[in-house]
């Protein structure tokens, strides 16, 4: 058999699946976002009209879109540094020559990553129950008044952020740990001989050596955090007072609750554009940091 044909036969199943069930729908989403596809069009396609950028214009004028974007950015801006900081801290502890029982600790810290979001969100809802939750009980011991964690618009998002950091930090921890292990020990040796404090070693050796890892982890984590959905769906249903409605939550409601598929596709595309812009910005900033 001719080798070209073999190669394409081997590729065919995967390419057909990706083409029909991913690339084609992505292109269709672009077209869909330019139409008023709704419940009526779902019933009879002849009701479909082309509205050009109408959905986008409408969305940009809707307060709910801007608040959903605001909540998502809040989640990303606080959640990503928090979870990456926790990952780096945990990785440094695990990498310390003083640490004992490393395999046990590594597994323990990684365990939340493999759990199901829905199940652990249910656990957190109980831990942060206003009346009987462990969080308020412990605060009560310190004479702090109970906080209505998931029922107060100011506290709901911070609680979700804490949950996400707990759930995810182990993933990046493993990547950072590999990055730390790749730093040549002689660098620290030389710094110690020069009398550099542990803090200066961290700033002048660890951080610069980890920079490529940090950038990659940062970009992947940011795009993951932009896709916030299951946490508010299970923990708050978007409430209280819509304070935890994320962009994807809006897309889900718009598309699969109200069946405004055209407008929901526009939400999805706007999210994609924003994520893309943020990624490019992060790459640019890191390059400029290299030049100075």
């Amino acid at each position: 058999m001719n080798p070209q044909r073999t190669a394409w036969l081997f590729l065919a199943p995967a390419l057909v699946v990706l083409g029909v069930f991913f690339l084609l729908p992505v292109l269709a989403a672009l077209v869909l976002s330019l139409t008023d596809y709704d419940l009526y069009a779902l019933a009879d396609i002849r009701n479909l009209r082309f509205v050009a950028l109408g959905n986008y214009r409408e969305l940009l004028q809707r307060p709910l879109f801007w608040s959903a974007l605001g909540h998502t950015l809040y989640f990303v801006a606080v959640g990503v540094p928090l979870s990456m900081g926790a990952s780096l801290g945990a990785a440094m502890l695990l990498n310390s020559p003083l640490a004992r029982c490393k395999p046990f600790f590594r597994t323990a810290l990684f365990a939340p990553v493999v759990t199901t979001v829905v199940a652990t969100a249910v656990i957190w809802r109980y831990l942060f129950n206003t009346k009987y939750g462990m969080a308020n009980y412990l605060l009560g011991l310190l004479d702090v008044h109970p906080v209505d964690w998931l029922g107060d618009p100011h506290w709901a998002m911070p609680t979700i952020i804490a949950f996400a950091a707990w759930k995810n930090f182990g993933y990046n921890m493993i990547i950072f740990l590999a990055g730390l292990q790749a730093i040549p020990p002689d660098l620290y040796e030389a710094a110690r001989i020069d009398g550099a404090s542990p803090w200066r070693q961290f700033v002048h050796i660890t951080l610069p050596m980890l920079k490529p890892t940090m950038l990659m982890v940062g970009i992947l984590t940011v795009s993951g955090y932009f896709q916030l959905f299951a946490e508010p769906y299970v923990m708050t249903e978007g409430g209280p007072l819509q304070s935890t409605v994320s962009v994807l939550y809006l897309m889900y409601d718009e598309g699969f609750k109200w069946w405004n598929l055209g407008s929901a596709s526009a939400v999805a595309f706007l999210l994609f554009l924003i994520m893309f812009a943020v990624t490019v910005l992060m790459l640019k900033l890191s390059r400029r940091g290299d030049e100075t």
């Binding site: 073999t6 081997f10 199943p13 069930f21 869909l32 502890l93 199901t116 979001v117 809802r125 493993i174």
Partner: protein, 273 residues
């Protein structure tokens, strides 16, 4: 700082972080054995006074949890087996078979990784509705049958197979299919295990797409079933903790038994190139 103090500090912090990571999971297990209402008391009880399987019985007899569990096993198992086949074939082709436009096609696939999966979901729903696959297992399985990540992982690994080995087999007159099955697959075994765990865990834990495409309870997977139970029974903490145990325990055990493969795959997948 004295070395002994530093050692105590590092290990103390590790114990603290491990406690934070594990406490919610251990408490979930403990509360799941408590009698209804027992967890809604102050101070929050750490251990059940009279441990019982009551909540689990309630879940499986009345709440349909057994059905959800079987659905999850069926869906995640099917996705794992079939997507492994697709990704292995394609990853190997990208690594070792020569064809025009190979590198460009692969770069294009990697480029597609920047598109979040949710962009495709609305038209995908319409497409599957047209095909009659909404509210069926196939609706969850079919779109997951190939992943760029899986192809990438296999390609990275398969590039390490020496060309001489394949050439020698070709000179001996072995067909490409036979080479793949008898020579390549055994060499790819570690990455097969890694990718299998990754795929199974991702399929098991997946939430948004199954929530959209599975509209009837009889097809619910565990996360969807649990989320819907959590909305009905928001006050029954003990019952919900038991539901969480059923959902989390299988993947946690799978991870614990094969964690070496999982962590290796995580690192391999995070090195771009």
């Amino acid at each position: 700082m004295s070395p002994r103090l530093a050692k105590a500090l590092v290990n103390g912090l590790l114990i603290g972080v491990a406690a934070v990571a594990l406490f919610p999971l251990l408490w979930m297990l403990s509360v799941s054995f408590m009698a209804p209402g027992a967890a809604s008391t102050l101070p929050p009880p750490l251990l059940p006074r009279h441990a019982s399987w009551g909540n689990y019985r309630e879940l499986f007899v009345h709440a349909g949890m057994g059905r959800y569990l079987l659905n999850s096993l069926l869906v995640a198992g099917t996705i794992t087996v079939l997507s492994l086949a697709c990704n292995l074939l394609a990853g190997y082709a990208f690594a070792k078979l020569r064809f025009a436009g190979r590198e460009r096609l692969f770069q294009a696939l990697l480029g597609a990784l920047v598109i979040p999966a949710q962009v495709a979901m609305l038209p995908l729903f319409l497409l599957l509705k047209h095909m009659g696959l909404v509210n069926s297992y196939a609706g969850v399985v079919v779109p997951a049958l190939a992943t760029v990540f899986g192809i990438f992982l296999v390609r990275q690994y398969a590039r390490g197979i020496p060309d001489e080995l394949l050439e020698a087999a070709r000179i001996d007159g072995a067909g490409e299919w036979r080479i793949f099955v008898q020579i390549v697959l055994p060499l790819l075994k570690p990455i097969v295990v890694t990718l299998a765990i990754f795929t199974f865990l991702a399929a098991w834990n997946d939430f948004m797409w199954p929530l959209i495409v599975l509209t009837g309870q009889e097809h619910y997977t565990l996360p969807i079933g649990l989320a819907s139970l959590a909305r009905e029974h928001s006050q029954d903490s003990e019952l919900m903790m038991a539901g969480s145990v059923v959902t989390v325990l299988p993947v946690l055990l799978l991870f614990l038994s094969l964690q070496r493969y999982y962590l290796e795959g995580l690192l391999l997948g995070s090195v771009k190139g």
